[in-house]
Structure formats: C-alpha cells, structure tokens
C-alpha cells in the first residue's frame, strides 16, 4: 500500500469516527429537547459541534496535503 494513500485513508477514517460521535450526540440532544431537558440537550449539541470541527480539521488537513502535491498543467 502506498504510504501516502494509507495516511489519507486514516485521516478519512478519523473524520468518519468524529462524525459518528457527532451523530450520537445529536440523537441524545434530540431526545433531551423532546423531553424538555434543555441544558442537557444544549450540552450534547455543543459536544456534537466539537466533533464536527474535529472532522473538518481532518478533512482540511488532507485537502492541504492534496493541494501541496497537485500540479496544474
């Protein structure tokens, strides 16, 4: 396996794991809001936001790597 491709694959897996965590927090948040438990719902919503930012950071890292190596003909 080309090590650069493996590195890219790992970054995408990490991004996917972060997005999974975000999704779980969103589900818990929805449950709490539906039950009128606003502070717990809000806390889980922010937790989701943190994971989305982490995922974004992974994707941007890969985008930067790609931009550095790509060439324009």
């Amino acid at each position: 396996m080309n090590p650069d491709l493996e590195r890219a694959a790992r970054l995408y897996e990490e991004a996917a794991a972060e997005l999974d965590r975000a999704a779980r927090h969103c589900e818990v948040s929805a449950k709490h809001f539906r039950n009128g438990v606003v502070p717990r719902g809000a806390a889980h919503a922010w937790a989701a936001l943190g994971h989305i930012r982490e995922a974004e950071a992974h994707l941007q890292e890969q985008a930067r790597t790609h931009a550095k190596r790509s060439t324009v003909d």
């Binding site: 927090h25 502070p39 922010w46 943190g50 994971h51 982490e54």
Partner: protein, 235 residues
Amino acid sequence: MSRGAYLLELGLVPYREAWDLQRSLAGAVSQGAIPETVIFLEHPPVVTLGRRTDEGELHVPEDAEVDVVETDRGGKSTFHGPGQLVCYPILDLRLHGKDVKKYVRDLEEALIRTLAPFGIEGIRFDGLTGVWLHRPPRKIASIGVHISRWITTHGYALNVDLDPAPFTQWITACGLDAAFTTIAGELGRPVRVEEVRPHARDAIAEVFGLELDALPADDGAGLWRQPIHAQLAAR
C-alpha cells in the same frame, strides 16, 4: 479581567453520559467551537476508579446497587451519589497559567470559598488533594482531574447531604483510611444541593476569573448566542 464562559446545570446525570459529554465538550472548547464551560450536576450512585487506584481499595458488597467505572482521571477511587455537588470545569489552561498544580490548588480554593458562607472552615493538608475539616480530620470534598492539550475534564465532588458510609464501607476512598463528612452532617440539618450551588458558582467564577453565562432554560425556549451564530451571520 473576567472572561465569558458557559454554565451548565444538568441535574442528575448518569456517570458515563457525563463523562462522554465532558470529553466531547473538551474537544469543542479546544476547537474554539464554544467558550470554556463549567458543568454542575449530581450522579446516581457510582464508584469511580482513578488511574492510581489500588486493587485493595474496592470492597463493594455484591448486593450493592452501584455502577463501577474505570476513568482516566488522576487519583484513586471515590464514590458519587445524589446529594453530592459535582463540578466539572472544562477550562483551557493556556488561559490560566499552564500550571496543573495551581489548577488543583485553585479548585481547592473554590471549595473552601463555597463552604465559608455555611460557617464551615475548609482546609488543605499538605500532600493530600481535596478539602478537609479539622479536629478530627475528615474529608468533605474530593478532587480528580484529567488534562489533555491543556483542556481540563473531571473536577471536584463536594459532599452536601448524603450518607458517607460508601466512602469507607464500599471502597477505601482516595486510598485513605480517613473519615468523610458532609455539609449537612456538619450543620446538623438537611441541606439541598440547590442551596450550595450558587455559592459554588460564585466561587468558581471568582477564582478562575470567569463571567458565567447560565442557560435561561426555565421556559424551555432560551438559548445562548454562540460564537457560531456570529460566524454564520457573517457569511
């Protein structure tokens, strides 16, 4: 100078949910998605084990209805239950001097200031983390923290009004052969966590220089303006 921070008062939250939440909120604080955040809550009965817990500390009876959770915080074993005020500050120590020992001393200071309005004099003992009362020595609050990328999780647990027997009967809490007490036990009257929380809030705000912004959730409608609101509005 005070800095804005969120204040979350979450009520009774199972330990694992609260731990997961803390770790995720720590990520959000680290990414700048939300400001520093202080959580106050209570846990259903749970024994938690820190990174330095010895095997012999745990002697929970088989019929005890209590969860046992291994955690990533420092320190030894402890017990949490309703009637104990738990505080989890999610702080960025790069804004508070990057000094872990000072952070723990500051948590102790916040606890000492929380007890003062009740006429209870909390003290520190050299070499022992937490807050104690003197003559005879008895522990009223425990501290255990975890720090990753300078973001703090875990925090303190202040015994307000609960049966302290599990600290000695179920575990050798904190690895110490010591007595444990509560605010209610010291005052000789029932004390609600809600009575203590405003003092705890003020003390944390003073010691860490935070302006705490509580979620106006009484009507179930109010939500804070968040940093992301401004970012979205600017697009």
